[in-house]
């Protein structure tokens, strides 16, 4: 049951991801990405990472993508128009890069996971609840946590500055 759901979600995410990348209209891309993120959240749930799952919805879908949508609407970004004439030469270079990368990457992941499969599976403990994540955050990872909050402050100030500045 769970695994079937997982694969369904996975297919959805991949489809939505391709939709995002291949679509010409930015608004559709945003909507597609939101859909992908919702499905990813569902996958997190299936992997018993409830807190992260809900954060995924809250932060990615609820905040980040709204920002994207907002910007797309604010700038009134028009759909890409296919450029007439020959495709830029660089594109071939990128395509080659991408192909090689995909090949190497997938082989590596395959290799790596093959090795992982041989190692014993860990105990399925209660990892998804807020308490355990919170405890890790506020003890072991306190300093990174504080730095992250500082980073957020910096970003806040920087963003306001960037967006307000009249160049």
């Amino acid at each position: 049951m769970t695994s079937i759901l997982f694969y369904i979600f996975a297919v959805f995410v991949l489809g939505a991801g391709l939709f995002v990348v291949l679509n010409r209209n930015p608004i559709y891309s945003v909507v597609g990405l939101v859909f992908a993120f919702m499905n990813l959240a569902a996958m997190y749930f299936l992997l018993e990472a409830y807190f992260i799952g809900i954060l995924q919805v809250l932060i990615y879908a609820g905040a980040i993508m709204v920002l994207f949508l907002f910007v797309v609407m604010l700038l009134n970004v028009q759909p890409d128009k296919p450029r007439p004439g020959l495709v830029h030469l660089d594109r071939w270079w990128y395509a080659l890069m991408a192909l090689v990368f995909v090949g190497v990457f997938l082989v590596l992941v395959g290799e790596g996971t093959r090795m992982l499969l041989t190692s014993p599976a860990g105990e399925a403990i209660q990892t998804g609840n807020v308490a355990s994540v919170g405890e890790a955050l506020f003890t072991q990872y306190l300093l990174p946590f504080e730095i992250a909050s500082l980073l957020l402050t910096v970003a806040l100030v920087g963003t306001v500055f960037l967006a307000k500045r009249k160049v």
Partner: protein, 101 residues
């Protein structure tokens, strides 16, 4: 675990590749940005999978930080895009090359 970690990781890799393709081939800065988000999410998924696999919470903590970073990155990045758009009236990254040479 019902779903083998192998599958999750392959899936994460595929998602990552989709993001890479988006970064490399799209001209709209916003879509490139979204592709980067896809890549980050692929990584997140891998982290979650490992966290589940090893039965400890560290992976999730990492995801937490990645999400924070993503939020920061998006805020600043979009501000930059807005700023660029204001000046150049375009969000096509192939047209944004003021710093060339």
């Amino acid at each position: 675990m019902v779903v083998p970690i192998y599958h999750v990781l392959i899936f994460a890799a595929l998602l990552f590749v989709i993001g890479v393709i988006g970064v490399l081939f799209r001209r709209s800065a916003i879509i490139v940005f979204m592709s980067i988000e896809i890549m980050l999410n692929a990584v997140n998924l891998a982290f979650i999978a490992f966290s589940r696999y090893h039965g400890n919470v560290n992976g999730q903590v990492f995801v937490f930080f990645i999400m924070t970073l993503a939020a920061v990155e998006v805020a600043v990045g979009l501000a930059i895009i807005i700023s660029l758009f204001r000046n150049l009236q375009t969000s096509d990254i192939t047209e944004i090359h003021m710093m060339k040479h």
